[in-house]
């Protein structure tokens, strides 16, 4: 129902000198008027000009001229056909040409960013954990459902394959074997005959949300294989329930594991006091996991984006507050679909002197 909108932005000229706003306006005006656009000028005096150009077909442009030497052009259209694109490119080329005639070598920087598509069926913009804007090469919505817990999307990327996105967070793509390798100890462990407990990992392991399992079983087979087809196999069992009571039961029964792999959630980003309960939840899981981990066992988990140093430090502080003393190491890994480097932790019980 909604048309696809394009916005061409961050087309700007950064200049080495103060400019006469009116002279810039007069120089660029004919380029927009040739396109049959009508002009509305707002003059702030000390803050320069905003000129709005409106076209009959619903497109419009903003020309913002700042007296300190910055000229910005934004163009919004919803004619996303080749003809519309060419027209826009031609217009911007003319603006660039005219600006170069006016300011020659005083132009410090010219920048024209790729168009942003908005309002369309396919959403290509999934910001990173550290809040940067990144565009994915999404070409298909494979699955999009709301469960009682979260929104579950599986989107197809040309280069990364299907990507699982839970409530807006990129979780895992078919390209991301590096993630699975990292959270399993980067190939340095021998799992033969070992007891392994995996918490989370809805893309191929136990999870509270049946709908994630259903989506992944069908659309993420490159990551989960046929593991989710049958919740019980010769050497594994998938439990779809809250992991806390299960951990408590195992602890009570004295059931011990060689490895605990926590793939529940990334380290909380926020460091505000309201998040206290999240950190408590995190410590509860850690404490219970240590209770079911053998003395020489290993606990693997993801941290977060390497740039979120405050959150990672807070996480490491939690590790010193567990019921038993632990030590840890960390590793920074490039997970292809994340577009940011990710930190993984290995935690083990501190050897006590006898």
């Amino acid at each position: 129902m909604s048309p696809e909108w394009r916005i061409l932005i961050d087309y700007f000229f950064s200049l080495n000198l103060a400019v006469d706003c009116n002279a810039v306006l007069k120089a660029l005006q004919p380029i927009f008027q040739e396109q049959g656009m009508t002009e509305t000028v707002h003059n702030w005096e000390d803050h320069g000009y905003l000129v709005t150009y409106i076209k009959k077909n619903g497109s419009f442009a903003n020309l913002r001229i700042h007296p300190h030497g910055l000229v910005l052009v934004d163009l919004q259209s919803y004619n996303d056909d080749m003809k519309g694109r060419e027209e826009v490119d031609q217009l911007l080329n003319k603006v660039e040409e005219r600006m170069k005639e006016l300011f020659h070598s005083n132009i410090k920087r010219v920048k024209r960013l790729p168009a942003i598509l908005r309002g369309g069926v396919i959403d290509r913009y999934w910001p990173t954990a550290d809040g940067r804007l990144v565009e994915y090469d999404i070409d298909e919505v494979v699955y999009d459902e709301d469960s009682p817990f979260q929104n579950i999307k599986i989107l197809h990327s040309k280069q990364f394959g299907n990507i699982l996105i839970l409530s807006g967070d990129v979780n895992l793509a078919e390209s991301d074997l590096a993630y699975t390798q990292a959270i399993m100890g980067s190939g340095k462990e021998d799992y033969t005959g070992k007891e392994v407990l995996i918490l989370g990992g809805g893309d191929g392991a136990s999870n509270i949300d049946q709908m994630v399992i259903d989506g992944c079983k069908k659309h993420m087979r490159k990551t989960c294989g046929d593991v989710l087809d049958n919740l019980k196999g010769e050497c594994y069992q998938v439990l779809i329930e809250d992991c806390i009571p299960v951990l408590k039961r195992y602890a009570k029964e004295g059931r011990m594991f060689d490895y605990v792999i926590n793939d529940l959630t990334a380290v909380p980003i926020s460091t505000s006091p309201e998040e206290d309960s999240t950190w408590e939840f995190l410590r509860l899981i850690l404490d219970l996991s240590m209770k079911v981990l053998k003395q020489d066992g290993k606990y693997f988990t993801q941290g977060n984006c390497v740039n979120l140093t405050d959150a990672l430090t807070l996480y490491e502080e939690q590790l010193s507050r567990l019921y038993c003393p632990v030590e840890f190491s960390k590793e920074t890994v490039c997970v292809p679909s994340y577009m940011e480097l990710w930190v993984f932790y290995t935690i083990w019980k501190k050897k006590t002197d006898i």
Copy 2:
């Protein structure tokens, strides 16, 4: 001189139903007016409304109401302090609240993208080879010079370390050991006692542009080590000149190599006829390289982004047009700072029946 500009964009509401543009305007109007913004309304009738709100400090907002059910808000400001950010967030929160009161479950999608910074000293936006918009975590301009051949930038990224950017193309970051490994055959080769010819690789090897060498020698030491400090070592020599005459001389002298590593340039993106000369240049390098490559030698090179299938196919077609028959294999590798998967080629001389 130029102030830092922020634009908050792609804040949009995609609706399941046609809307009364005037009703939306009347509902949202007070939110902007409370901020002391003055309103200019343009009514297209069949294409809806564009409402421009202007603030005394030079900031402004566009509210675009489309009758088919799309409402877009853009906000531009250059008060990039915390107070300014909070004000903007509050305004957008109020818009969202009001829209939810108006349309309830008919809102299909709400999206608020990270702010785009423009006009500042630091440019964080370096589109991928396949034309996607990506923001880097750049926090410092380390080096920025124009050589007779190109613009050379070395920018510092918090997670990737220093990044070499040549005329706008991300070339290599300190995080990108994966690139070097891939172009050296992914750890499968034993270089002991072998003769290796490297073409390009200004980040640590021969290059025509002395200024790239100078910048990298100082600021990319994690990638080039001390190789560039002395252009001649016990087992290597760096030539800063055009590689074509050198290759011709080697061919004439009959000097042969076990490996030729071509790190000159990515495969041309354009597939237009004007690019013919680029393809010819590429074939010339390939032919000359094959002439100096031993019969059982290997030629390694980068291709391009895995999404640029047309360009890669054209490259592979060139391989069938060389003076001697060759075979090739390719590998797709994740180079951390590229934010896209990259194709690398291994090429060797076809074994001929005796």
